[in-house]
């Protein structure tokens, strides 16, 4: 890990030039919004999951995501000298920068599992790209997040296997979910405007596009073994999608997300200046 920058947020932020700071803010917002929104959808299962034991387990996953969002909003707040709750709650729906993968409601259990699987595996690669980040505050936070994500990956993979091998109905639901989700899954590691600059500054180890290739290559064996949808074809060393990546990977959010936004900001908006 680079020790060229001090560990505290505002000092570390001051060491970056303006364009790099902008690019970093864009990345942090994308990651924080991703964790925030998936945490919301998954927290909806609290109290109504298929099995009481699984209810408790799934709720912990949702809480972890919100906890990660919290630390990421905190980093962003230090970068911009702002308030984390205001960043989290104070924007209009279309100003959120989460991947469109997270615009879908939780739908059914297979859908939620499929979405978690796609998101967590992609996020794991993204965290790998940040593990040795020259921006020390982020590297520190990423190290902790990765340790929690191990459990998430185990849970998601175990459920994908269980549904894929569980008979006709679970298998069909999982297949349908993956087919619907694949195009939007390509939004998680879609390039950001400031990608290259972050790689040059040592904040990111590789461009997101390279990370996306590694993610897809990593998933291929499992999905092929289980006979699950994997809409990609090999073109030399790369995997090219056979589905279309959305034009606006982190924008143009769905009506479902607008509904969610209405809910999660309702109390906050009743008095944004109040303490809650």
């Amino acid at each position: 890990m680079s020790t060229s920058l001090p560990a505290t947020g505002p000092e570390a932020a001051a060491q970056l030039d303006e364009p790099t700071r902008e690019a970093l803010a864009e990345l942090l917002l994308a990651m924080a919004d991703d964790e925030f929104v998936i945490g919301f959808w998954d927290s909806e299962w609290t109290g109504i999951a298929p099995l009481l034991e699984e209810d408790v387990a799934f709720s912990s996953l949702a809480q972890d995501e919100i906890g990660h969002a919290q630390v990421l909003y905190q980093l962003l707040a230090e970068l911009r000298d702002a308030d984390p709750d205001r960043i989290a709650f104070g924007r209009g729906a279309q100003e959120y920068r989460h991947a469109r993968l997270l615009d879908h409601p939780r739908t059914d259990w297979a859908f939620s599992i499929a979405r978690r699987f796609l998101y967590d595996t992609a996020d794991a690669v993204r965290l790998d790209l940040l593990a040795a980040s020259s921006y020390a505050p982020l590297a520190g936070v990423v190290a902790k997040m990765r340790r929690e994500e191990t459990y998430h990956l185990l849970h998601a993979t175990a459920w994908v296997e269980r549904l894929a091998g569980g008979g006709e109905e679970p298998r069909r639901r999982l297949q349908d979910a993956l087919e619907r989700l694949w195009p939007d899954a390509l939004c998680v590691l879609a390039p950001l405007e400031g990608d290259r600059r972050l790689v040059e500054a040592g904040v990111l180890a590789e461009p997101l596009a390279d990370g996306e290739q590694r993610w897809l290559t990593g998933l291929a064996p499992l999905l092929e073994r289980l006979g699950l949808p994997f809409p990609f074809r090999r073109a030399g060393a790369r995997l090219e999608p056979a589905v279309e990546r959305p034009a606006s990977p982190r924008g143009d959010h769905s009506a479902s997300f607008e509904w969610l936004w209405g809910e999660f900001t309702s109390v906050y908006r009743s008095d944004p200046e109040a303490a809650w």
Partner: protein, 118 residues
């Protein structure tokens, strides 16, 4: 679905304590759920997850609380006698006791305390 009993250890070196049980379809999920129920608040450093079917229960009072005297195996079997005989030894030597109860032998006290904490 099977019942799994969960034992947890609160800190390093502490004994495994029975904490509860849960239902799970396989050992892998049983471990996940045990973590949720007995570890999500960082309250444990170790968990043992055991199928209930693997546990042998023994509660027969004839075996565990046999009725005939076993005080020779416990401190209480000695304390009264020692007190009496110590008084007799002092009398023989003409050394009066101050009439206060003797402080307990610290080595014996430490030994008993250690066992009680276990």
């Amino acid at each position: 679905m099977e019942v799994y009993e969960v034992f947890r250890q609160e800190r390093e070196g502490a004994p495994m304590q029975h904490s509860g049980n849960l239902l799970a379809p396989d050992p892998e999920l049983a471990s996940h759920y045990a973590r949720e129920f007995y570890g999500r608040r960082q309250e444990s450093v170790r968990l043992w997850i055991v199928p209930r079917a693997a546990i042998r229960d023994l509660s027969d009072p004839d075996l565990l609380q046999p009725p005939l005297d076993r005080s020779f195996k416990k401190p209480v079997g000695y304390s009264a006698d020692i007190k009496r005989k110590l008084a007799a030894a002092r009398d023989r030597l003409g050394v009066g006791s101050a009439g206060e109860p003797e402080a307990e032998d610290p080595v014996v006290a430490a030994g008993r305390k250690g066992a009680e904490q276990a």
